[in-house]
């Protein structure tokens, strides 16, 4: 704050001196007065043309804004919802599949690209239910109103690969997402009701979550490696 109080007057003084010098020197150059008039009219005409071009370009611009979610919907606690059996938003579900396994079921080592929740059911069956949940990617565009852009659909994921004895998690693809937002200055939008407060935050849940419902009759083979691998598998 103090910085602003000091820097602003210095900038103003420099600006006043510079503009005074430039205006004075322009007077000495004896530029024809008509030059300034022509420049003003030409500049306005150019800006009007640019306005029309921009409006046509915007009308033809196909890019739809991403879906939005409110702050209450953002950052959904998936782990808690699965544990409690609470409803889970459809937007988070990437795949729901069932798999027949034979004999022992194993999870080969994977490297931090998924979070696996295992739920055992007291059933005599060899069918495993699999639900894959997408990671969330949200960016705040109106934090005062608690509204976020949901860019989760933009994230590419690789589903687990199954065979009759195991499920392996492939290395997830690299996601490089680029967005450009244009908004007019908030000062100009004082009466339009579309003020923005900057894109200062966002959230990402990181990795896919795989929820496996495995009957008690299926024997599990999960190696205790003692490294981080174990941290990404949890029994409910």
């Amino acid at each position: 704050m103090m910085m602003f109080a000091i820097v602003m007057p210095i900038l103003l003084i420099i600006g006043i001196l510079t503009i005074m010098m430039v205006v004075k020197s322009m007077g000495n150059v004896r530029v024809k007065k008509k030059f300034h008039h022509k420049l003003i009219i030409g500049y306005l005409a150019l800006l009007v043309i640019v306005l029309i071009v921009a409006e046509i370009m915007v009308q033809n611009h196909q890019m739809e804004p991403p879906p939005t979610v409110t702050s209450s919907e953002a950052g959904f606690d998936l782990r808690y919802a699965i544990d409690q059996g609470a409803p889970i938003p459809e937007r988070l579900i990437a795949a729901q599949r069932t798999h027949e396994v034979e004999g022992e079921f194993s999870l080969p080592k994977f490297y931090r690209h998924a979070y696996i929740l295992i739920e055992r059911t007291p059933e005599e069956s060899n069918t495993i239910e699999e639900t894959v949940y997408k990671p969330e990617l949200l960016t705040g565009f109106d934090e005062s109103g608690g509204i976020y852009y949901d860019l989760s659909d933009q994230l590419q994921i690789e589903l687990p690969i199954w065979d009759s004895h195991s499920m392996s998690v492939p290395k997830q693809p690299i996601n490089k997402i680029q967005y450009t937002f244009y908004h007019d200055s908030n000062m100009l939008n004082q009466f339009t009701g579309v003020q923005n407060h900057g894109y200062s935050s966002g959230m990402v849940s990181g990795v896919i979550t795989i929820h496996l419902v495995i009957p008690e009759s299926v024997e599990l083979d999960i190696q205790e490696t003692g490294d981080e691998y174990g941290d990404y598998i949890e029994f409910l």
């Binding site: 640019v50 690209h113 579309v194 894109y199």
Partner: protein, 248 residues
């Protein structure tokens, strides 16, 4: 006895036209500043952020493009223009006319209105340039409406920008008038500035800035600006009347 009787308005209008012709470089300066700022800020006003996890599986970059830079620069120019018109050279120019303080002040006010309208219109129109810059980027999302989709919003932007520009000009003009009266006011204004920044920027809901910026009704906003302009203009008129007739 004069064969022609000039009205105050006619005299002020002629003086305004003279000022407009004589101060062409002021408008040219704004055009140059806006072009320079648009060229440089089309890159600089894009802020990029990225989220990356440890394995760089996810990289999310977003860029913000807006006309904040042009708005700030135009307001900066407005303040300086207001200040410039109080210089001794500007005041002495008025002696080329058979005139008085009232017509001199009125001519200045007309000039400010003209300059503010020019600044307001060009700044809003420059937003179109920034829109085009944004569209040429990846996955561009235009969040604000334009002239075709929301004409009322577009014109409200011009009104808001013109009002702020006029306000800043009158603030610069009034401060300049006081400083022309006595250089001691520089120290006083420095103190007032520090107090103002502490009060206005120190809290979210209070302060003089919120008096204008926090207003959501355009009619009330215009009324507030008009009252503020009338006050500033009245004060500067009062001070100017106490200045020497002609400064060296």
């Amino acid at each position: 006895m004069f064969s022609t009787q000039w009205s105050v308005h006619e005299l002020a209008k002629r003086q305004f036209l003279f000022k407009f012709n004589a101060n062409g470089p002021i408008f040219t300066m704004l055009i140059v500043l806006q072009i320079i700022s648009t060229v440089f800020l089309s890159g600089a006003s894009t802020s990029t952020s990225s989220y990356e996890d440890g394995d760089t599986l996810l990289s999310f970059n977003y860029a913000n493009v807006s006309n904040d830079g042009q708005v700030g620069l135009t307001l900066f120019w407005a303040f300086i223009v207001g200040f410039l018109l109080t210089s001794a050279a500007q005041r002495n120019e008025s002696f080329a006319f058979v005139t008085n303080r009232l017509t001199f002040q009125l001519a200045n006010f007309y000039f400010f209105c003209m300059a503010a309208l020019f600044g307001g219109v060009t700044t809003v129109l420059l937003g179109s340039v920034m829109k085009i810059v944004a569209i040429f980027n990846d996955n561009a999302i235009i969040e604000t409406s334009g002239l075709f989709s929301a004409p009322l919003d577009f014109f409200s932007q011009i009104i808001a920008m013109t009002a702020y520009t006029l306000l800043l000009m009158l603030v610069g003009y009034t401060l300049g008038t006081f400083i022309q009266f006595s250089k001691l006011f520089i120290a006083l204004f420095a103190l007032i500035w520090i107090a103002f920044t502490q009060i206005s920027f120190g809290s979210d809901s209070n302060g003089l800035l919120n008096f204008f910026y926090g207003e959501t009704s355009i009619l009330l906003f215009i009324l507030k600006v008009l009252i503020a302009i009338a006050l500033l203009f009245g004060v500067s008129f009062w001070v100017t009347n106490r200045l020497e007739v002609r400064n060296p």
